[in-house]
Symmetry: C2
Subunit: 425 residues, 2 copies
Amino acid sequence: MTRIVALDTSDVRFPTSLTLDGSDAMNPDPDYSAAYVRLRTDAPDGLEGHGFVFTIGRGNDVQVAAIRALAPHLVGRDAEELLADLGGVWRELVHDSQLRWLGPEKGVMHMAVGAVVNALWDLKAKRAERPLWKLLAAMSPEELVDLVDFRYLTDALTREEALEILRAAEPGRAEREAALLARGYPAYTTTPGWLGYDDAKLARLCREAVADGFGQIKLKVGADLGEDIRRMAIAREVCGPDIRIAVDANQRWEVDEAIGWVKELERFDLAWIEEPTSPDDVLGHAAIARGVAPVPVATGEHAANRIMFKQFLQAGALQVLQLDATRVAGVNENLAILLLAAKFGVPVCPHAGGVGLCEVVQHLAMFDFVAVSGTTENRMIEFVDHLHEHFVTPVEVTGGRYRAPKAPGAGAQLLEESIVEYTHG
Amino acid sequence: MTRIVALDTSDVRFPTSLTLDGSDAMNPDPDYSAAYVRLRTDAPDGLEGHGFVFTIGRGNDVQVAAIRALAPHLVGRDAEELLADLGGVWRELVHDSQLRWLGPEKGVMHMAVGAVVNALWDLKAKRAERPLWKLLAAMSPEELVDLVDFRYLTDALTREEALEILRAAEPGRAEREAALLARGYPAYTTTPGWLGYDDAKLARLCREAVADGFGQIKLKVGADLGEDIRRMAIAREVCGPDIRIAVDANQRWEVDEAIGWVKELERFDLAWIEEPTSPDDVLGHAAIARGVAPVPVATGEHAANRIMFKQFLQAGALQVLQLDATRVAGVNENLAILLLAAKFGVPVCPHAGGVGLCEVVQHLAMFDFVAVSGTTENRMIEFVDHLHEHFVTPVEVTGGRYRAPKAPGAGAQLLEESIVEYTHG
């Protein structure tokens, strides 16, 4: 028997605020951080499961404390038994009746469950000697729906409906896997668009994005309308008419303000308006979507759980669903969200950037292509060229496409020396 | 000048799971706990500001860590300046751009802000030698709206509309304050209704509730329909037809299940159905409200913030609004919620029980009566007869009514010996 013998945590913070990488209308000076967890076993293979929650600095210690609070659920237990029933583990962690009070199913405690669940998936994938996307894509529809907790979803998606979606995608799995390995998965880049960059840097980075083969870029907006118009004009001129340009307000606006602001920007041909207002405001987003149509509304990186996504879909409050690798309770909940998106026919364009979000979320998008939605149409993964050098298996993005990772695991593992160098305090 | 010289925290846990007090369909064995904070100043008066987040056991340490993360915002600062602008302090704490990422505005980090904000209000009220409700009820409409952050609310409630509501309630303030001091504020009791109690205890506690003058009791339901029908029959028989009986499912159901279950119980004449499903599910509650009408839907103790309440009101998803003293970011956000409820004409019946929730939330309901809604019609505060003995100023509930507290402060202060005896670990 293999036992989990330790759940170790680290408070890792990168001083990104010094360069204004990552500056937007709500987050002027983030220090990209990871509340990091590793699970160790007594197996002679020495394999570990790594996971993290992405934060932007202060409070990363609180997030680490929340992850540590889950240790009694795992340490000392049979790893094989746990890894054979990750649906059961998810339920046990999310529905711990005392810990649940701290959310429920949202915020620090919920994200902590996500980190631990993702670390278990990393361990499972490494033991299977497969990248996570491929491990998931090889599971049967029945095995996959067993991973999902349909509690609070059945008015929009039942287990039977989820099974149908997965069964319908079974036939082409092998062809799509081959296509993915050959051509990769589409990406778009946010690298040019941070508010802290001056015009020359904006123009240069737009030019480089086009030259690098990206079909879409994204600009941060929302702090000053005149500035936004000026920056959009530069970006549109440099990129030309054929590159899609999305804009991201990072929750800056009221409902009416969002509609008015987007009307002023729509002349630049917007791919989508992202996070126009509070991520909790389903009805507000629905009103904005009606008000700015046909410009699509995109959101999701701060949506707390599958229940919020369900409502955004039910209300027509988003037209582009941006799941996040570390905001919800890990792979299992993101599988529920992918199934919801497939049910409603809404494209998923995952949020990435930060620390390691690209590395982790690509597995979900690629699995979705092979085994859930079966398409990359109108879908792409965000890419930001930051901090990849700290990962054991950094993403490979070339020609505007994510290349399918082949290394075993879920992609979350930081280099030992990076952990040591950037451990806080 | 008076400086804040310390923010001290304690992890206080009461072993309530031993007696099944507080057992419901989702929380079988809570250990009622307080993530406790006290603010100390260098003033010779020795006055301290006390506040807490109520939790149910495991994870209370995580909540304490989150409160401690706010210390750099307060320690060393001028107390008089802070207390003179609690609206500004609220914005500073809630919108700290790095800490905000951990919610935003929900869960552990948001509740931590609530504890600290409430501790500041406690200090302010003690320095003013007034109970909190009276301190608030003496503020002008302009001063009160300055406490509220209208961000993400303006599509439902503007600052001007809030001012109108408060101005409309100004004329009768003195008479209502006198009435409150003379007659108290209506209460209902949940003491009889916990799932862990046997039939004899249920019947005895129902009988005692009626004898004590309560006009409404509440029963926990949702684990087993047959059991619920049996227990409701006992309660209705003991109470007779004139006592209102509410039921509380503690988030146990799916949408359709909730409607079907309530249909089976409505023959017992339900005062309301509380927390039928996920507290995040605005659209689900709206569907349930339509499906079980005219039985009112009550919820709010787990609603994460004012933005969720806004949507519940916009969607007709609740007919009874149950604000909670420690779930949202303190007095300021609860003032926003009281104003939203007044705007939509929905009665507020605060959640209480737990540790100290009765002691704290009564101030908000009484302030609402004097200065916001101006009425107690269809309004009452929950009462559970647990753990009051640990407070410096325990609630006084007689004849089914909360008696208006007269001691200075916000009611949150635990006895020193209780903190020492029940500090965890």
